[in-house]
Amino acid sequence: MATAWIPFLEGRYSPTLDMWPIEAKEFNRIYKFYENLREGKFTTTKCQKCGRVAYPPRVICPECYSDELEWIELPKKGKVIVVVEKWGGVPICYEPPLIDAWIDLGKDSPVRHILSRMINCPPESLKEGDEVQLAVFDVPAHPIELKKETIKAERVFFAFEPVKK
């Protein structure tokens, strides 16, 4: 190895090139979202002072700036408003086609719409009005240096998938 070596070329981790969030509790204050996700729950924060539900979750209420927030569940099912498939110029981390849908979570949901990647979904099968549901999956872990050891921070994220008819 050269005397002044390049960390990237030796496989060292940098969050600047990580497409997934840094979910570990050592690095953010909304890690509960990811813990809930691991249990299959799709959640966000609600203000206990004024009742405002905000997505994505945060540490203050964007309405009244209270920091007294609670976690609430969002619907895990919705209906497709529009779906698109991307075949060209797909980032290296995905196999084409990359399928995404703009989803209506229903008029009773405090968060009306969500953009989501569609998984477990064959090309050209999904259409407007189809029912879709939350799907949680594992994403690559990354190292965290603690005082005496380096641990692997396991991670999950979500997409949506078609509800089987």
Binding site: P56, W87, G88, P91, D100, I114
Partner: protein, 395 residues
């Protein structure tokens, strides 16, 4: 007594495309072209620098960029020396900030220079890095770093709600490439036929290759000065920065502010504020530079900017209203579709074209143009920035 007024005095850009050059090389080329447009102006007479870039620092290693740029350009700023990052609107933002600094009396002559070096030694990073330019933790994991997916949804929604046709999207590309054919500094110099557009590689239906602007290396620079300095520096007609506005109502796609994706209330609000600020109405606009990152974008923009009725953007373009001789010739230097889109430099390229139009020296000249407008959206349509220029100052 009128207060101090800011003018755009001159501008220039380097050759845009896939460049065998670093960001700091291109900045120097653009600054040289800019000062050649303002003979007599010396680097040491420029008292402020605003540098606009989003990806310097990510695709090349340099943080705290402004002093590096100032030094390489031989500037010794005494009023401002700072960097601006508003992705696609960074250049226009720099111009709005320079206007404020000049009008406040803090600065007299400011260079606004934008640059992106997007192509990296390994090409995978060119698309992958886009995940940093949208709301990273929430939207990037859903795959919309590269924006075509999102704008394909917008196109489908616009077609559904307003009956916009595929060929109307295609006309935007045909017209803008037609303008860009005459611009040697742009990324492409080729004419397109509707057949070329409709038969192109599909990127995300309904958008094909020519409905999407390319990723481009490039830099552009302008000089913003007080009216008094502008008179000293140039014999050309004065061009005033009459006004502008910048609106941001959301970041994560889930918080989209419209009734549907073809409805852009944030742009309507920006337009209303900018027109009021510049004391004009849309019917006063003679020439426009709008953010045609995708063909569909221009169609929605001509509607929300008030050039035509909501829902009639496709018809507006199809009927030739954005061509020379039309109601409002638009993207007369080729726009993003043909010139390419080095994010932080794009608003500055647009400003240069409007400057030339208002001084009667553009290649695709709009006869007697007296009021021009530039518009940028940023990222996945999360911010709208408008600058209005005029031969006459705001009264």
């Amino acid at each position: 007594m009128a207060g101090r007024r800011a003018c755009i005095v001159g501008g220039g850009m380097c050759k845009w495309g896939v460049r065998e050059a670093s960001y700091i090389d291109m900045v120097q080329e653009a600054a040289k072209a800019c000062l050649e447009d303002v003979p007599g102006l010396k680097p040491t007479n420029i008292d402020g620098l605003l540098f606009s870039s989003t990806f310097v620092g990510r695709r090349s290693v340099q943080a705290n960029t402004a002093p590096v740029v100032a030094e390489r350009l031989g500037l010794k700023p005494t009023s401002i020396c700072a960097r601006v990052d508003v992705l696609c609107a960074g250049g226009s933002t720099g111009i709005l900030l320079a206007k404020g600094l000049v009008e406040s009396g803090m600065a007299d002559v400011v260079m606004v220079v934008g640059c992106e070096k997007l192509y990296t030694p390994e090409r995978w990073q060119v698309q992958y890095d886009e995940i940093a330019a949208i709301d990273h933790d929430w939207d990037a994991p859903q795959g919309i770093g590269p924006p075509p997916l999102w704008f394909a949804m917008i196109a489908k929604e616009h077609m559904k709600h307003y009956g916009t046709k595929r060929e109307q999207l295609g006309m935007v590309s045909v017209i803008n490439y037609g303008y860009g054919y005459t611009n040697p500094k742009g990324h492409f110099q080729r004419k397109l036929t509707m057949e070329d557009v409709l038969n192109a590689t599909e990127i995300a239906a309904p958008l094909g290759l020519y409905d999407c602007c390319p990723l481009t290396d490039g830099s552009a620079a302008v000089i913003i000065a007080s009216e008094e300095k502008a008179k000293e520096l140039s014999d050309r007609p004065l061009v005033y920065i009459r006004g502008g506005a910048q609106v941001s109502l959301h970041s994560v796609s889930a918080n989209w502010p419209g009734e549907h994706l073809g409805d852009w209330p944030h742009l309507r609000l920006a337009a209303k504020k900018a027109y009021a600020n510049a004391k004009i109405s849309p019917k006063d606009v003679d020439v426009a530079q709008v953010h045609d990152c995708f063909s569909i974008s221009e169609i929605v923009e001509v509607e929300e900017l008030g050039f035509c009725k909501k829902g009639e953007g496709g018809l507006f373009v199809e009927s030739g209203q954005t061509k020379l001789g039309g109601a409002i010739p638009t993207n007369t230097d080729g726009g993003l579709l043909s010139c390419g889109h080095p994010f932080g430099a794009t608003g500055i390229r647009q400003a240069i074209e409007i400057l030339k139009q208002l001084q009667g020296r553009a290649t695709n000249q709009v006869n007697g143009a007296a009021i021009g407008i530039t518009h940028n959206l940023s990222g996945s349509c999360v911010e709208h920035t408008i600058v209005i220029y005029g031969r006459e100052p705001r009264k």
